[in-house]
């Protein structure tokens, strides 16, 4: 399939926009004056991200299914994740302007890095070639390391970065090892071809499995799946809060997207195997995340564990993937992630307001009586938490509903029951924060305040959460379309 240049430019327009944006951001930053708090660079970055998102939507609407440059599939599946990730990162940027302004001198780089991360995600979720998968993941990782350690001189931030770095580098090597085996077995790096070839040769079966396991580890760590999750709590906890928001949402979504595409296109015939393994991993992830979150005293760390727990639910969609049009699993994963991005970004960014008041602490005590001190912030937090807990009519409910439905559809009753049980456990610690906010007497005087940008982000997130829950059909049409294409393409 050969395409002319203009077609390629059209299809890669989101990536190109991001690339240009990133450089413009750096350029703007170079021209920045002292008193500027990075607002200009951030604005450019946000505009670029939103433009890219817009471009993705336009592309989505044209229902493409082309492979560009032999390595990138510009299909609705990828575009869905791109859109979600771009919007998510844009929200993170808007919310973090005030926070970052006082903390770092290199604001332009920060926003540029986030744009680069968006680009990395964009590449990764489109990749149909092992090489590009690896490049995309590593690109994302490297930007993430820098972002996590962005607050130079901040011990926690640095530690978060180095832990993430060491873990990520090793995991990347394992991923690479796995990919090399895949290449060795099939002689190609194109995933669709690999899928075909593996289907035809029985002898390569066990080697394929080895590759699968390694790929699972190498990509699974991005999605913070147990047992590849251990970096996550420390990194989410230590990294600057906007970065944690990014890592636990857009980056994680990319992990799931890539994992989904790889195992669906390269390993379709291993479905019986990965169904079981992913199911087990999902259960482990849920239990470990939720049970550990129970004990946390810092809300940020609690959210870190909670996002591990959430990853477990999301993975259910992949574990229970099937060909049914309504509860196929992948659509559950996607709608879950879509809602989760808004919810978790909201919850994490809201911590900025708390940190500002407390000087960095996000302990439960900081939340005591928040409802009387800052009712709007408390209400938003409660709303995010309720969505995370999966109470209707929020996005969190819709996502859970779809992944549960997929699990039930595959008649994995035990898995469904365990997931349901986890919902209850999780509700306990989410409600615990609400309890502190609404029921407890304040131990701290005075309300917390959020900058305009942050407030906007929080409200937008809340509205989106509600919108996804209520106008579910609108979003489900998008999701289902994406899945249909994916299924038509490979699976």
């Amino acid at each position: 399939m050969t395409l002319n240049v203009s077609a390629i430019i059209r299809l890669l327009s989101p990536e190109l926009i991001l690339l240009i944006t990133a450089f413009v951001v750096i350029g703007v930053d170079l021209a920045r004056r002292r008193q500027d708090d990075g607002r200009t660079a951030a604005t450019v970055a946000v505009v670029g991200l939103l433009l890219a998102a817009f471009a993705s939507v336009l592309l989505y609407l044209s229902q493409p299914g082309e492979i560009v440059l032999f390595t990138m599939a510009i299909d609705v599946y990828g575009l869905f994740f791109k859109t979600a990730a771009f919007i998510g990162i844009a929200l993170v940027i808007i919310g973090s302007v005030n926070f970052m302004a006082g903390r770092s001198k290199y604001l332009g780089e920060f926003y540029a890095l986030l744009v680069f991360a968006a680009l990395a995600i964009s590449v990764a979720v489109s990749a149909t070639n092992l090489i590009l998968v690896y490049i995309g993941i590593e690109f994302l990782s490297i930007t993430s390391y820098i972002l996590a350690g962005f607050l130079r001189g901040d011990k926690r931030s640095e530690e978060a970065a180095i832990k993430y770095f060491l873990y990520g580098a090793s995991a990347g090597a394992i991923l690479l090892f796995g990919l090399s085996i895949l290449y060795g077995v099939t002689g190609t790096t194109d995933m669709a071809t690999i899928g075909d070839l593996l289907l035809r040769s029985d002898s390569a079966h066990w080697l394929g499995l080895v590759a699968l396991m390694m790929v699972l580890a190498g990509i699974g760590y991005k999605a913070s799946l147990v047992p590849f999750h251990q970096w996550a709590p420390d990194t989410y906890d230590g990294a600057p809060t906007p970065v944690s928001a990014f890592l636990s949402t857009a980056s994680k979504a990319a992990g799931f997207a890539v994992l989904g595409r790889v195992i669906l296109t390269a390993f379709p015939q291993f479905q019986p195997d990965w169904t079981q393994i992913l199911g087990a991993i999902a259960v482990l992830t849920m239990f470990l995340g939720n049970l550990t979150a129970l004990k946390q005293k810092s809300v940020k760390r609690m959210l870190a564990y909670s996002s591990i727990g959430q990853a477990g639910y999301i993975l259910l969609g992949l574990a229970a993937v099937n060909a049914s049009p309504d509860f196929g699993g992948v659509n559950g994963l996607m709608i879950y992630l879509f809602g989760y991005i808004f919810t978790n970004i909201g919850a994490f960014l809201l911590l900025l307001a708390i940190e500002k008041k407390s000087g960095g602490s996000t302990d439960m005590e900081q939340f005591d009586g928040l409802a009387t001190r800052s009712p709007v912030i408390a209400l938003l937090m409660a709303f995010f938490l309720i969505s995370l807990a999966g109470v209707p009519p929020t996005a969190g409910f819709l996502g859970k509903f779809y992944v549960f439905a997929a699990v039930m559809n595959q008649q994995m009753l035990v898995l469904g029951a365990l997931a349901a049980l986890n919902t209850v456990i999780a509700a306990f610690y989410y409600l615990n924060v609400i309890r502190h906010m609404y029921f407890s007497e304040s131990t701290v005087e005075g309300g917390v305040s959020a900058s305009k940008g942050l407030m906007t982000v929080l409200v937008v997130n809340a509205v989106m959460i509600l919108a996804i829950g209520v106008f579910a059909q609108f979003f489900m049409v998008w999701v289902n379309n994406s899945v249909t294409m994916l299924v038509a393409n490979g699976f």
Partner: protein, 525 residues
């Protein structure tokens, strides 16, 4: 008229939510405005439900149909619809909900003093959840409203609960317990879809659920049942109730006892009965058994209480047992199609259970208001410090007598009919269990008379025994003052209903009987 009929349920359901949004937009200093607005706003659903009842009675009572239906696609890709409708079972319960909501708001306007705006906002939101459950004809919609009702109640208990009663513990227990049940119900609902291809209750019932997969059918049945049984609550899932009721603010307890508990029973009748008649026939005896245990056990435990509110909370366990007994009997009867008289008995048991839903709502609602009346004055609910109030606060005494005797099932007052019909049905179907159940009647009389009436009202009033009296408005007082006007306005409508329905239950019974005949005949019974 047709437009009104097709939109009235939607209006009833969402008006309170709209009201709570409006309250949210009001400045929180304007407490008076918030209170007045909420009360009057809640009157609109009350009027609408009243109209609904009258209209249903005049036009649909012999029509054998689900009236006021409205159906829009919500998530058409999986066949989830916004599908609402009301029949003889839901119409009275809608009215009950509207009535208790208005009364609760009206009462709370006088006694809620902290965080007023949030209270009224949440209370209105709660109404949406409750109305929604009673009109939903789609499983997912049902679940959504079911959960929506959960959240405001959590806040009501936690924030406005009495600090002495561990409200935070009670609130979280209430929430988690209910959630634990309902999340499995969600799985079962998905199962219904996978089996029938629809989430619509009526369609799914017509198609039959898991007809060829008895194991799935059984699992689904239990998932649904446990969710409902927790909400009812049926023994042994009842332990959240005493804590929640005791801790909740007065109006919260009223709604909790008056309406929220009914959601579970309603769910069993509306959802479980029509979707899983086969399993119901098979396991109906367990339902009935739990009901009987609940009746007797709850009554005995009530008898041991010395805290007035906790006593009434446990009495709810006992009274909800009647509902479970009735429902269980209906289930057992489904398996007795060839037995003469089983059909009649089933209809009566159905009527008894649904009557109990309504009657318990007004009676226990009134009782919780009455607890509030004394608590606002004495600031204790310990029965040991009272006595002789009959001579001091005669109006309060009289009101309590009506509610108390209605609660113990005295003929001529509302509670009797529920008991009578339940037992009439149960004796025809599960006589052995029913015989055990009647022990509860005696014990009920014992705790109402011995614990409540005697401790509170009889004997000589001794002002020395308790000296923290205030008036209901918080001013110091030397002894109890009789019910204030707003308390009378709150309680007397309920008392009037108790008497009227006690003497002439026919109008209410007509609704329920219609539903029972329809639902049972739709089960080819």
């Amino acid at each position: 008229m047709d437009l009104l009929r097709s939109s009235v349920l939607t209006l009833i359901v969402f008006l309170p939510a709209v009201g709570s949004v409006i309250v949210a937009l009001m400045p929180k200093e304007k407490e008076d405005l918030i209170k007045k607005f909420s009360i009057w706003w809640s009157v609109i659903p009350l009027l609408l439900t009243t109209w609904l009842a009258i209209d249903y009675a005049t036009n649909f009572l012999r029509g054998n149909q689900m009236a006021y239906q409205a159906k829009f696609a919500w998530i058409p890709s999986i066949g989830v619809n916004y599908h609402v409708g009301a029949d003889g079972l839901s119409v009275p319960l809608l009215f009950l909900t509207a009535l208790l909501t208005t009364l609760g708001l009206y009462y709370s306007a006088r006694v809620i003093r902290k965080r007023v705006k949030e209270f009224f906002l949440l209370f209105l939101l709660l109404a949406t959840g409750m109305f929604g459950v009673f009109v939903s004809l789609d499983l997912i919609l049902f679940y959504v409203f079911w959960e929506i009702g959960l959240v405001p109640m959590y806040f009501l208990i936690g924030i406005w609960g009495n600090p002495k009663d561990r409200p935070q513990y009670a609130a979280i227990k209430f929430f988690l317990y209910t959630l634990a049940g309902s999340i499995f119900m969600l799985l079962a609902m998905i199962g219904v879809y996978l089996s029938t291809g629809t989430f619509d209750i009526l369609d799914a019932a017509a198609k039959g659920v898991w007809l060829n997969a008895p194991t799935f059918a059984m699992l689904s049945f239990w998932a649904f049942f446990i969710a409902f049984a927790i909400k009812v609550p049926s023994f042994p899932f009842h332990t959240w109730l005493p804590d929640a009721h005791t801790a909740a603010p007065t109006a919260g307890s009223v709604i909790l006892a008056g309406v929220l508990l009914k959601l579970g029973a309603y769910g069993i009748l509306r959802v479980l009965l029509s979707l899983f008649p086969g399993q119901f026939a098979q396991f109906g005896w367990i339902v009935a058994l739990l009901g009987v245990i609940g009746i007797v056990y709850g009554a005995f435990v009530s008898l041991a209480q010395t805290d007035l509110k906790r006593l009434i909370a446990y009495s709810s366990v006992s009274h909800m047992g009647y509902i479970m007994l009735g429902i269980g009997a209906v289930g057992v009867a489904l398996g007795m199609k060839n037995v003469a008289g089983a059909q009649e008995s089933a209809a009566m048991a159905f009527n008894g259970a649904s009557l109990q839903m309504f009657m318990h709502g007004i009676i226990t609602g009134a009782l919780f208001f009455l607890v509030g009346v004394i608590y606002e004055r004495a600031h204790t609910r310990d029965l040991k410090v009272f006595g002789g109030l009959s001579a001091v606060v005669p109006v309060y005494y009289a009101t309590m007598m009506f509610a108390g005797f209605a609660s113990l099932g005295l003929p001529g007052l509302a509670g009797f009919w529920a008991e009578f019909f339940t037992f009439r049905g149960a004796f025809g179907i599960v006589p052995v269990l029913a015989v055990i159940g009647v022990i509860g009647i005696v014990i009920t009389a014992a705790y109402i008379l011995y614990r409540i009436i005697q401790s509170l009202f009889l004997g000589e009033f001794d002002p020395k025994r308790w000296d923290h009296w205030t008036t209901v408005f918080g001013e110091h007082a030397d002894g109890p003052t009789d019910m204030a006007l707003f308390e009378k306005v709150t309680l007397w409508p309920l008392v009037i209903l108790m008497v009227l329905l006690g003497l002439w239950p026919t109008p209410l019974l007509a609704f329920f009987n219609e539903a029972s005949v329809n639902i049972l005949s739709s089960l080819h019974f």
